[in-house]
């Protein structure tokens, strides 16, 4: 049997999502960026406490605001996953259309599950605005 050739194994492979799933690509890229920013943020807080006697120097504030933005897709996906689990895959699911039409009864409270991620995003965005105002204004 002929040998097969494997092109998998590189982080750059996630860029393939650009062709059909930009939301997924954003989620994956932001997660990887957040890991690096988290390391910088730890260092910034530690250096701030050591030299400026406050955990929140201007660098920490900027990094924390960046981290706030990078965590946005993670938060949305977390609440989305919670809605999926709570509704058994009906809310935010991509189940077979025929099954959804004939096999699933949508309960009235599923509307709440649909709204939870967006409410969370609204609260998260308000928090970002308030923090940016407190620090940068």
């Amino acid at each position: 049997m002929a040998e097969s050739y494997d092109v998998r194994g590189r982080q750059s492979s996630i860029l393939r999502l650009y062709g059909f799933d930009k939301e997924g690509l954003l989620h994956m890229v932001f997660y990887r960026a957040a890991i690096f920013v988290a390391v910088l943020l730890i260092a910034s807080i530690a250096l701030g406490v050591a030299y400026a006697h406050t955990p929140f120097t201007i660098y920490t504030e900027i990094l924390m605001l960046v981290m706030w933005v990078l965590f946005t897709p993670q938060l949305f996906e977390t609440f989305k996953a919670s809605s999926i689990i709570a509704s058994g895959g009906v809310v935010f699911g991509r189940l077979n259309a025929s099954f959804m039409r004939f096999g699933v009864r949508r309960k009235p409270w599923f509307v709440i599950y649909s709204a939870v991620p967006y409410v969370a995003m609204a609260v998260w965005a308000c928090g970002f605005v308030i923090l940016a105002y407190l620090w940068l204004a």
Binding site: A2, Y5, D6, F20, V39, I42, P55, A81, G89, F99
Partner: protein, 333 residues
Amino acid sequence: MRASRYEIAMYGSMVGVPLLMFMIMLAMYLSSPYAYTLLPALLIVALGAFAVTGAKEIYLHSAYPGSRNRMVKGIEEHSSAHPRSTKGEPVTIAIKRFNAQSREFDRISYRYYATKLTTVLGALIDIKSYQDNTLSMRYNCRMGICGSCSMVVNGKPVLACETNLMNVAEAGNGIVEVSPMLGHPLKKDIAPDLTEFFAKHKSVEPTLYREKAAEKYQVKAAIPQTKDEVDKYLPYSYCLMCGLCLDACPVVNSNPNFVGPQALSQVYRYHKDSRDQKGKRRLFDVDSAEGVWGCEFSGSCSKACPKGVDPAAAIQMLKGSLMQSITEDDKVL
């Protein structure tokens, strides 16, 4: 190997970091001293857990040697195809063919005359029949039920027999790019090697498990189920094993050791089947970094699935089931 505590730390930090940042914001707004003392200290701990677990996951994903993916844009042929119909629209089909000898990709273009009902698979079969009989690909039923003709068309993993050629050509300005699924090892041209894919599926034991020895291989009577019991697993039983979800999954593409969304969706399918008596062992078998916890929930698998199996939702519900089932006195069957 159980990885629940590690994964709890990872997911806990993913929740803890934004929560602590939000609490710091509130504490500052309320002029509380905790904003400068306790909360930053907790934030450092949470950030450390997030960075360590996330970096470990990325490092694990990058540990696979992999091979360079080179594409050679050298050979382009514009053959005048034998038109099937004088009413056909001319379409350029560019096929990224894997050359097994040189281990490079050759992008070869073919001219094809399509009608409004022509599918991508129909065009490829015609190209093989009339223009280039060296083209290799997988196909079988031509009606979207066998899952053999999986490939990537204009960047999206699809079943070629269910993809209308003219629709894709219009979206791609008259050019249709066909390439093999890079989320699987490649054999030749656009035919993937699905050996590993089937092995991953087999590794999760995708069959009904009955405890009685007499029922293990042949059940003498049908096991009744209510409609509600059937609805719990029915959509997940629609899986064709086409492999599109693994091709779409960014985790599989960067870490081939991840078992993949197809296998995990089948774990959920059998876990939710009331006839299955394997119980929590199915959950524990995938409770690992290469199992259910390898999923980062990008959702691409569900977007690529042609049958609405929704493996992304199945994996999240598997995670929920695992978290609910973790107790100190759990015994493995």
